[in-house]
């Protein structure tokens, strides 16, 4: 699409007045949709976090009663005692919310929407209408999931991985009734949302870059969002298929995932001939790329935040792109490492193990590049920068335990223990949340035109990183002692009695971490309305979004879209007056910015450059 067309499009919008409904609710402006994704994500995240508080209380004090529980969760907390079935429901919904609703939609949805058009220099997404649909599918999905908390039998309780037969047969667990059906409906709506968003992100990045924005000049955020969207587009449909087959098994008496189940247990029809492991393959074919769908945007945000605040170019830009691509490709051939002990052929296990451990190489490259970017920098330790540094710390801690779990042999004793819980809460949970927080603190001025309180941000950071490490680090030792995850209580095993103190410590740390999030919530919502007005480029950043006016309007730039003459990381360049040179500042030594065009073609812009 040429600039000319976009300009026309933009003018059209200036002519008609936005009603409240079209501006705040059914908006097609990517910036408003980003806000909608973020706020929905934060609300879902708060709910998910509160759920974790309830089950942490149960794990620390299995013998105590908490009368207030009955007030919150009704008959599931009769006499202040959490029902074991509802405990499983809580961990299931906590996992689902955090993985999909917060760290996929809330993180990638928010920042892909906000940053892709602004950083590539486009007036909006390729299809603003699809973008709006993407949000509303997500919203509908969130509503269905929350609604499932109130149905008879409770919400889905088979773990967020919903392995059949447990999830397929209502007789197996109360949550596998209506709750599970709603979970599947929510997931199907969610996948629709992710696909609509993903197609849009890819189309915008590939087709709508402004003049001079070659693929090799894209900020690393955009590279991360691009690979994320591709991963989502290739893997989510597989889960959609998998979920539909599960719907068939649950509602129409088929046996895709069921084998040797007697009629009495399976709703009156004998089920045989299927394979429960098939579902695991389909699930993890999404599930593993999903880890990187969560993590890559966080890493992209971190790259941008670290470079800006270190006042230094990101070290090894091309190696960073290379490692994002390598991680993207490898993430598709390692899903089997979640299934080492399902009895799979040992040779197959070896293949998956090899692939898994290779991922450590690009991950190590990324880590070293971050360290090299910090080296000899001039670090402005803003809250966003602190969260980005926190992400690197978690990425190291959690990434290293991946080397244990990716090793098929070691996985035998560690699989499904608290070691796994510690691993993924560090590398996927905490790291991605920290990336999201870094993004929120960094782009809050762009999102809302106001500044967040810095002091509150720093307190939030320190309380969160301390509590996160206090919660998840000791869990490694629980796992090494053989304590399984998803246990309602450890009271049935004398040998786990030694961990009573540790569990109480973890719970107290988790409660503190929860309180710290209150500071964030107040800081976030208060400053939307009352915060200090933001200057146009508060962090002296190079990327294009800071050349757009602070006030939002549909179309992003008044007049012409800025042209790009350089990469995004000209920080502290020798000879320059300031320690940053925005991408739209012409490079005097370079007459034609298109001459050295490499990589993927910027469609449409080539014609223009040929004329020049």
């Amino acid at each position: 699409m040429s600039d000319h067309n976009i300009d026309n499009h933009h003018e059209e919008h200036e002519h008609h007045k936005d009603s409240f409904l079209s501006k705040y609710v059914f908006s097609m402006d990517h910036k408003m949709i980003a806000r909608q994704f973020l706020i929905t994500g934060i609300i879902m995240g708060t709910i998910g976090m509160l759920m974790s508080m309830i089950f942490r209380l149960q794990l620390a004090y299995p013998d105590m009663t908490f009368p207030f529980l009955e007030g919150i969760i009704g008959h599931w907390g009769k006499d202040g005692k959490l029902d074991p079935n509802f405990y499983l429901a809580l961990i299931t919904i906590h996992g689902t919310i955090m993985v999909f609703y917060v760290l996929t939609a809330g993180l990638s949805g928010t920042f892909s929407n906000l940053l892709i058009p602004l950083q590539v220099g486009a007036r909006d997404m390729a299809s603003p209408f699809m973008n709006m649909l993407s949000y509303w599918f997500f919203f509908a999905s969130s509503c269905v999931l929350l609604f499932s908390l109130f149905v008879d039998g409770g919400p889905a309780s088979a773990g967020w991985t919903v392995y059949p037969p447990l999830s397929a047969l209502p007789k197996a667990i109360p949550g596998s009734g209506t709750g599970m059906t709603l979970w599947l409906v929510a997931m199907i709506l969610f996948i629709a949302s992710a696909l609509l968003g993903g197609i849009n992100y890819i189309a915008t990045i590939l087709n709508m870059r402004t003049k001079g924005m070659k693929m090799t000049r894209l900020p690393l955020t955009i590279w991360a969002f691009l690979v994320t969207a591709i991963l989502g587009l290739l893997s989510f449909p597989v889960l959609l298929g998998g979920s539909l087959l599960l719907v068939f098994d649950r509602s129409f008496g088929t046996s895709f995932y069921l084998s040797e189940i007697v009629a009495e247990f399976a709703g009156g029809i004998e089920r045989t001939g299927g394979s429960p492991i098939l579902f695991q393959h389909l699930f993890w074919f999404l599930g593993h790329p999903e880890v990187y769908i969560i993590l890559l945007p966080a890493l992209g945000i971190t790259s941008e935040v670290i470079a800006t605040n270190a006042r230094k170019p990101i070290f090894g830009y091309r190696a960073m792109i290379g490692s994002i691509l390598a991680i993207g490709v490898l993430s598709f051939i390692v899903w089997g490492h979640h299934m080492f002990i399902t009895g799979m052929n040992p040779f197959l296990g070896s293949v998956f193990m090899l692939g898994t451990l290779i991922i450590a190489v690009p991950s190590a490259v990324k880590t070293f590049n971050y360290l090299a970017t910090l080296w000899q920098g001039n670090l402005k330790l803003t809250p966003a920068m602190m969260f980005a540094i926190g992400l690197v710390s978690f990425f190291i801690s959690g990434g290293l335990t991946g080397i244990y779990l990716g090793n098929a042999a070691l996985d035998i004793n560690l699989h499904d223990t608290y070691f796994v819980v510690a691993h993924f809460h560090l590398v996927m949970g905490s790291a991605a949340i920290f990336g999201m927080m870094a993004g929120i603190y960094h782009w809050y001025p762009k999102l809302f035109g106001r500044m967040m309180n810095e002091t509150a941000g720093h307190i939030h950071f320190w309380l969160t990183i301390i509590s996160a490490y206090c919660v998840f680090f000791p869990m490694h030792f629980l796992g090494l002692a053989g304590v399984p995850r998803r246990y309602y209580a450890n009271t049935a095993y004398d040998q786990f009695d030694v961990f009573v103190d540790m569990n109480q410590f973890i719970t107290i740390a988790a409660l503190l971490g929860g309180l710290a999030q209150l500071i964030f919530l107040v800081n976030f919502f208060y400053n939307i309305f009352k915060g200090k007005r933001s200057p146009q480029n508060p962090w002296d950043s190079n990327t294009l979004e800071w050349t757009a006016p602070v006030e939002h309007f549909h179309g992003n730039w008044i007049g012409e879209i800025p042209h790009v003459y350089r990469w995004a990381y000209d920080y502290s360049k020798p000879g320059a007056e300031q320690d940053f040179i925005p991408q739209n500042v012409p490079d005097e030594g370079q007459t034609d910015c298109m001459e050295e065009a490499v990589g993927l073609p910027a469609i449409g812009n080539h014609a223009a450059s040929a004329e020049a």
Binding site: P84, G153, I341, A360, N378, P474, N490
Partner: protein, 476 residues
Amino acid sequence: MKIRNLFLKITFLVTVLFSFNQSLSAQTVEEGKTLFNANCTACHAIKDKVVGPALKDVDKRRKEAWLIKWIKNSQAMVKSGDPEAIQVYKENNESIMTSFESLTDTQIKSILAYVKAESEAPAAVPQTAGTSPAAGNNAAANNNQETNINWMLMIIGILLIVIISQVFKILSKIGEIQGKPVVNWNKTNGLLMMAFLIIGLIATVWEFVVHGPLTVFEAGPASEHGVEYDNMFMITLVLTGIVFVITQVLLFWYGFKYKADGKRKALYYPDNHKIELLWTIIPAIVLTVLVVRGLITWTHMTSHNDPKARKIELFAYQFGWNARYAGTDNKLGAHNFRQVGVMNALGIDTNDVNAYDDVVTNELHLEVNQPVDLAFRAKDVIHSALLPHFRVQMNVVPGLPTKFSFTPTVTTAEMRTKMNKPGFDYILLCNKICGGAHYRMKMKVVIDTKEEYQKWINSQNVLVANKVKNKTVALK
């Protein structure tokens, strides 16, 4: 009919053993306890709802005759339209309670006596004793204490928020008056990062010293392949430990050292191919070592193949385990999921000659230094058998046979001495979410010496005792 009776004997072995003691009324509660633990704990607890309801004060809620009838065949009662029965059935998610038609009235009465005794006992019941010293003995005091803690937590939380928000306000006021922020966050964060690094590293060491000994690695492996497993683990631990310390130190130290002070300018240093090549190749080499070593260990662990291995089947169901020993012929009898039922809990094909001498038990006894082939089978949903002390785990999938072969090397008695814990027992845990009582689905594992094992296995009943002899003759 004979076969049917024999199955009853096996399924409720303990019941049968204790039926000789019926006349001793003093032992009623004690007998009830044994029966309760053998038959009921998979689904019931005294004061907690598990799959079935909590049984505390059940004697006050229902008549004894009703309870006996219910325990023997609850479905018959539901179908006959007993309103109380229908209510209980619906309240518990319409899950069908196993019928215990083999239990005599006296036995059920002794179970009820035990439940009654436990209901009236002080709050700390045996299974939860010791988990929370603060729980106290008196239920009322207990409740008070908990309410107090709840209130205290809430008050502390609210106070914290109020204090923090006030501190913000005061600081920003002072900042406004002075014209510059009171706290220089760049400096503060730098110092905090150093403090975090040092305290964090000390805490990591402390964790290893204090909690390290609580892991299963402290006592060493109790199986042959476990030695190789532990080596692999230690190599990984050392390598990742080194990387962990170096990278975390660099990260936080750089954060401290290169914080902006307003005087310096950052170094423009976009890349260096030599260094990048170096730190791609070094991790690649380290990982190659780990991969090769890991593959060797994995292959060794998964390719045990000993024709003399003893064949045992582990059968998992919601929520419990059974072990089936192949008997003297070392051949497990065939099974069919369609035959799984009240009378034939494991669905064993009783017409198969190989099944005659099979032995079904509730505990897993293994002979030390004797290889075993564990075959796994599930009745309903996926379970997973985790034996952490042996470095053994395998999923138990309905309709999909799985197996694991290994050789235990340390007897229970030896392990008790080694760990200096006289009460220690090996365990098998369910490690795949399988329902409400997942957290208590376990089986005791005993590693015997050769003599102990022989003694134990001989004390168990074979499935079809009267045919075993004939079969042996036929085979010869």
